[in-house]
C-alpha cells in the first residue's frame, strides 16, 4: 500500500496519469486520509486554495417521465395525482425570482415528458432569455437532448444548435449514472446507453457548449464499474475538452425501487470524490453536490480534492424526493462561511467558471 501511494504521489507531482488498476487499488484501500492527501495535492496543483460556488436556482420543470428509471424517486406517470408540469409562466415566475435574488444561473432539468413538443423547450429558452438577458441557462442533460431529437425528428446537432441559438448556455451532466451496460439494465433499462450518452455529449461539446459529467454511485455497482465510468469520461475529455466539472452523486435510498441495504457511507463519499480528483487529471473541477452528500460531508470534501461546492440551489426536487435530508437552499453567506471554515478562499463563479467575486 505504501508503495502504491508513493507511486501515485510521484505521478501527481510529475503530472502523470494514474492507471485504471491504480484507481481500483485506491478504492479498495482503507487509508482514507492518505487518499485525501493525494487528492488535496492534485487539487492544489490545479486550483490552489480557491473553492468555487455559484448563486443558482434549480427548476425541475416536470416530473412526468417516460423513462421510469428504477433508482428514481422523482418521476411520475402523467395521470398520477402528484404529477406536475410547469407552464411557461410558472417557469418565468421562478426565473424572475431567481434573477431578483441575484442568481447568475438557472439549472433546469426535468423528466422526458410524453406530450410536450420540442417547440415548448425552444419557447422556454427564448422567453427566459428575453426576460432575463443576463442569467445563464444550464439545462437539459444528454438524455433530454437525445429525447428532443427523437420527438422532433431533428438531428442531435440541430437540436443543440437551435437551443443554443435561443439561449442555452451550457448543459448539466446528469443521466450518466454508471456507464456499464449490465448496471444500466438493472437501474435504468429504458435510458439511453452509455455509448449514446457519450455520443450526444460529444456533439454538445462540438456544438460549442460546455457540460458537466456525473456519476451516480453507491447502489448496485462495483468499484470497477466506477473506474470504468471515469475512464470513459477521461477519454472523451481528451478528445473534446468540453467537460467543466465531474460530480459524483451519492445514491439516495429512500423511495427508490432499487433496494440496497445501505446507501453510500461517509467514507465512501469522500473516497470517491478524492479518487475522482486523482484519476480525472483532465477535469479542472470536482464538485461536491451538497444536496445529496449532506452539507457537512460536502464541506469536509473540500479537504479531499474538491474545489466546487455547487450553489444556492433554492428549490431542488429530485434528490429530496429520494430522501435527501439536506436543506432546500443555502444562502450565499452560509456557503462562503462553509468554504472559509475549511481554510479555503470562496470564489463566486459564473456558469463558465469565470470569477465574479473573490471573498
Amino acid at each position: 500500500m505504501k508503495s502504491l501511494l508513493g507511486q501515485i504521489r510521484t505521478k501527481i507531482e510529475t503530472d502523470t496519469r494514474i492507471s485504471d488498476a491504480e484507481a481500483l487499488q485506491l478504492f479498495e484501500s482503507d487509508d482514507l486520509l492518505a487518499i485525501g492527501e493525494l487528492a488535496d495535492l492534485a487539487n492544489r496543483k490545479k486550483n490552489g486554495l480557491r473553492v468555487f460556488f455559484n448563486v443558482n436556482r434549480h427548476i425541475n420543470y416536470t416530473n412526468v417521465c417516460v423513462n421510469h428509471c428504477r433508482f428514481c424517486a422523482f418521476c411520475r406517470e402523467g395521470n398520477e395525482p402528484d404529477a406536475y408540469t410547469y407552464n411557461l409562466s410558472q417557469v418565468l415566475e421562478k426565473a424572475a425570482e431567481a434573477n431578483a435574488a441575484g442568481a447568475t444561473e438557472l439549472h433546469m432539468v426535468g423528466g422526458l415528458h410524453p406530450e410536450l413538443p420540442f417547440e415548448f423547450y425552444l419557447r422556454l429558452m427564448a422567453t427566459i432569455k428575453a426576460n432575463n438577458p443576463t442569467i445563464k441557462i444550464k439545462a437539459f442533460t444528454a438524455v433530454e437532448i437525445d429525447y428532443f431529437a427523437r420527438i422532433s425528428g431533428l438531428e442531435v446537432e440541430e437540436v443543440i444548435r437551435e437551443l443554443k441559438r435561443l439561449g442555452l448556455d451550457s448543459t448539466p451532466g446528469g443521466g450518466a449514472e454508471i456507464f456499464d451496460a449490465g448496471v444500466r439494465s438493472q437501474i435504468c433499462p429504458e435510458k439511453i446507453s452509455a455509448q449514446r450518452w457519450l455520443e450526444v455529449t460529444e456533439k454538445i461539446h462540438a456544438g460549442g457548449l460546455k457540460s458537466n459529467a456525473t456519476m451516480l454511485f453507491g447502489h448496485v455497482e462495483t468499484y470497477a464499474h466506477r473506474v470504468d465510468h471515469m475512464r470513459r469520461l477521461r477519454e472523451l475529455q481528451d478528445r473534446t475538452g468540453g467537460f467543466q466539472a465531474f460530480i459524483p452523486l451519492a445514491f439516495q435510498t429512500q423511495n427508490s425501487n432499487i433496494k440496497v441495504e445501505h446507501g453510500p457511507d461517509g467514507i465512501d463519499c469522500l473516497k470517491t470524490l478524492a479518487i475522482s480528483r486523482i484519476y480525472l487529471d483532465n477535469f479542472q473541477h470536482i464538485k461536491a453536490y451538497w444536496v445529496m452528500l449532506g452539507l457537512k460531508v460536502a464541506q469536509v470534501a473540500l479537504c479531499f480534492g474538491v474545489n466546487d461546492l455547487d450553489g444556492t440551489v433554492v428549490e431542488e426536487k429530485i434528490g429530496h424526493d429520494a430522501g435527501a435530508d439536506s436543506p432546500q437552499a443555502l444562502g450565499k453567506e452560509e456557503i462562503i462561511r462553509q468554504i472559509r471554515s475549511a481554510g479555503r478562499t470562496p470564489v463566486e463563479r459564473d456558469t463558465l467558471y469565470q470569477d465574479l467575486q473573490v471573498y
Binding site: L33, E37, I267, C269, R337, A342
Partner: protein, 359 residues
C-alpha cells in the same frame, strides 16, 4: 513545522500535550494532518481495530427545567402546558421496549425539575433494577445530582451514595458544555459552574462509579477556552480516573435563545478537528465517541478515521437534539455496517466497555 515536530515527539513519548501545543494543533495544523496524528494515536491506544457501540435508549423523564439554558430547545417552564413528567409506568414501558430490542443501557436524563425529590429517583432506580436487571442505569448528569443533593439537604457524596445504592451505575457527562465559567455564564447562567461539575465527577469516581465527559463546542467559545476544557477533563481524569469516554458535539442553534446570536452550527471540518484534537490531548481517557446524533451517520463514520473509536449508543429514542431541529436515525445493523465499511470490527459493548458481541 518545528512546533509540529516537538508535538509529534511528545506524542510518541507519551508526554501530555501542553495548552500551547493543543492550541497550535487546533488553529494551525491542516485537517488531514491532524486526522492522521489522531488516527495514529487511536491505533496506538486501540490496536485491535475494534469500534464499539451500546444498545441504549434515552428516556427524558421530564422537560421541565429550572436551568433554562440559552442553547437548549428542549426545556419548558413548570407552568408551560407542554411541560411533562413521565410516570413510573411510562418509564417502565420504555425500558421494557429497550430490553425487547436487546438493549443494555438506559440513559435517563431530564430537566432540573424543581420539585422531584431524591426519593423519587431512588424508588425509580430500585424498581428498574428489580424489573430489568440486565439494563445498566447510566443516568442523570452532574447538574441534576447537585440539585438533588441540595433539595435533600445532604452532601454530594451522600446523594451519589444513595443513588448508587438504589441502582445508578454510572453518570453521563452531559451538562459539561464548555468547562469554563466565562462561557457558562453566557450560555447557561443558571447551571452549575465547572468546579461543581468536576466535583460531582471526582466524587462519583471515588465511589467507584464510571462516568463520561462531554463537550458542546461551537457556542461562541474561543479556541483557548476549548483547549482549557480538554485540559480540565484530562486533569480530573489524572486525579480520579473514572472517565470511560469523551464525547464532543456541536451546538445546534435551531429553536434556541442563543440561536439568535449564533445562527450557524459548526461545520463538518470544525467537528473533525475537535474530535481529532480531543484524541490527541486526552491521552488518559480511553475512548472517544463519535456523535452521529448531532453530526449524522456519514460524519460519525468519517470521525472513526479522525480519532474516534466508538459509535456511542443506538438511541432508541432521542428528544433533546431533535428539539433543536436535528433528527438522525440509526439502527443496529446500520451501525455495524458503517463500522465495518470504515475498516473496523464492530463490537457491541456494555456501558463499562465490556465486550458483549463481536460482529
Amino acid at each position: 513545522m518545528f512546533e509540529l515536530e516537538l508535538i509529534q515527539d511528545a506524542l510518541s513519548q507519551g508526554i501530555p500535550l501542553t495548552r500551547a501545543q493543543a492550541l497550535y494543533l487546533y488553529c494551525n495544523v491542516d485537517l488531514l494532518r491532524l486526522g492522521k496524528m489522531a488516527d495514529a494515536q487511536r491505533k496506538h491506544l486501540h490496536p485491535a481495530g475494534e469500534v464499539g457501540f451500546v444498545v441504549d435508549r434515552n428516556v427524558n423523564y421530564t422537560n421541565i427545567c429550572s436551568c433554562q439554558c440559552r442553547f437548549c430547545a428542549f426545556y419548558r417552564d413548570i407552568s408551560d402546558p407542554e411541560g411533562y413528567v413521565l410516570s413510573e409506568a411510562q418509564i417502565c414501558a420504555k425500558v421494557e421496549e429497550l430490553v425487547e430490542c436487546g438493549g443494555t443501557q438506559l440513559l435517563m436524563q431530564g430537566g432540573i425539575h424543581p420539585e422531584l425529590p431524591l426519593s423519587w429517583f431512588e424508588q425509580l432506580f430500585a424498581l428498574l433494577r428489580r424489573r430489568f436487571p440486565t439494563v445498566q442505569i447510566h443516568s442523570l448528569s452532574p447538574a441534576e445530582v447537585v440539585h438533588l443533593a441540595a433539595h435533600a439537604g445532604i452532601s454530594l457524596r451522600a446523594c451519589i451514595q444513595r443513588l448508587q445504592a438504589a441502582g445508578l451505575e454510572s453518570i453521563p457527562g452531559g451538562g459539561a458544555e464548555v468547562l469554563v465559567d466565562a462561557v457558562r455564564r453566557h450560555i447557561s447562567p443558571n447551571k452549575i459552574g465547572w468546579r461543581k461539575w468536576a466535583e460531582v465527577m471526582e466524587t462519583a469516581h471515588e465511589l467507584g462509579m464510571k462516568t463520561t465527559a462531554t463537550l458542546m463546542f461551537g457556542c461562541g467559545e474561543t479556541p483557548e477556552q476549548l483547549v482549557e476544557h480538554l485540559v480540565r477533563v484530562r486533569e480530573i481524569q489524572a486525579r480520579s480516573g473514572g472517565f470511560t469516554a469523551f464525547i464532543s458535539w456541536s451546538y445546534q442553534p435551531d429553536n434556541t435563545e442563543l440561536g439568535h446570536e449564533i445562527r450557524h452550527g459548526a461545520t463538518g471540518t470544525d467537528y473533525l478537528r475537535v474530535v481529532a484534537l480531543s484524541r490527541l490531548v486526552l491521552d488518559n481517557v480511553p475512548n472517544i465517541q463519535a456523535s452521529w446524533v448531532t453530526q449524522g451517520a456519514r460524519m460519525a463514520q468519517v470521525a472513526l478515521r479522525f480519532g474516534a473509536n466508538d459509535m456511542g449508543g443506538t438511541m432508541l429514542e432521542e428528544n433533546v437534539v431533535a428539539a433543536a431541529g436535528v433528527s438522525f436515525r440509526m439502527s443496529q445493523p446500520e451501525i455495524i455496517h458503517l463500522i465495518r465499511a470504515a475498516g473496523f470490527t464492530p463490537v457491541r459493548r456494555t456501558t463499562k466497555y465490556a465486550v458483549l458481541e463481536r460482529y
